[in-house]
Symmetry: C3
Subunit: 154 residues, 3 copies
């Protein structure tokens, strides 16, 4: 795996600032020597709010999911110190605020998964995943993603 | 624990084929030496779609959950190579597409849990679980289940 | 970290009885040497049911979340034998039965997180978290919480 920061640079991606916290939780917790859980993370605060299939299109949902993934990387960079410590993404849980007739949660989730795949490669960046519909998310954001990762042995 | 394939045979169960993927994810990921996450997995594609408490009865929901569990076993068989490597099911997260007045998500989840209990025994096959209502799932399926497992030491 | 039972006593908290099970699952499972998953756990059975933003206020939701956390501690006490074995809370997943215009799931979740923070301290008691809206939960309860914990080395 090439250096993650070189890769991000090559892709023209500048990491956003770590997200603000909206409650009593930690953005990340390292546990069991080399696992990391990342809290449910929303998209950039200036992105449109609302539901898929109502206020937002699939394309907007994918953009929101991609933004969630970038915020997850920003928080991991801030708390781990170095994104090159990541061995693999194990699991993503993708919550998609959905109108009752919106069935394309996986496509929305791909907005995050395709970014992680491109940055970390398909072996490490593609995780198991559930992408489900929910009626509403905090602050009316359209997508929220939590992640489980494994770090390299030190 | 008896041989899982003998047990399945005794129960008259033939594992389905591994499921097709509907997005950028892996069906299973092994991590931290002996843990496995299984992606959110739906029922057989020829089963009825819709919501519990609206288009589907509790019994149909339990059948769908059982089918999810069989698909999980099929994917684990395909990716682990041998279901006898499984030490225990640790956690199931059961998403049930639910009308607002449907409160029996646990009974629906039992459709999966009772199958795993019968195949693997109550010590290994019965996991922690959350069974929650969601407004809608990918492709309008009624139930989706993700799983965390522990493998035996090799 | 001070003795957890002294701390609970100091806070005037008496742990409730372990919760009854409403399906085929375990309340807790220990795995991978020192991790514990706790099943989705509801509030005390005599608390009000219904949705946030409809039948229940944010304050009632926070009380319900706090009650979920107490039930989680009661189940952990019953199954681990000693709450002092807990090293840290790793992850909470907070399901909040929500009307479509209720956006304060994190504040509801804080009802649980603030209790765990006070009992275990901010290093150990504050976990990663997702707090999401769902349309309906088992038995029409307003909040359900599942938890992942790490135990101390023995």
């Amino acid at each position: 795996m090439m250096d993650i920061y070189l890769k991000l640079n090559e892709m023209g991606i500048e990491l956003p600032k770590p997200t603000a916290k909206a409650g009593i939780y930690k953005r990340t917790v390292c546990f069991a020597d080399r696992l990391v859980y990342v809290s449910g993370t929303g998209p950039a605060s200036d992105m449109p709010t609302g539901k898929l299939g109502k206020e937002l299109t699939v394309e907007q949902g994918m953009e929101a999911a991609r933004s969630c993934a970038l915020n997850i990387l920003a928080n991991l960079h801030d708390e781990l110190g170095n994104l090159n410590r990541i061995k693999r993404f194990v699991k993503l849980l993708v919550f998609v605020a959905s109108n009752e007739d919106f069935f394309d949660q996986p496509q929305v989730g791909n907005g995050a998964s395709s970014l992680l795949c491109e940055v970390f490669g398909s072996d490490c960046g593609v995780a198991t995943r559930s992408a489900i519909g929910v009626p509403v998310l905090p602050g009316n954001i359209p997508v929220e993603i939590e992640a489980l990762l494994e770090l390299k042995d030190e």
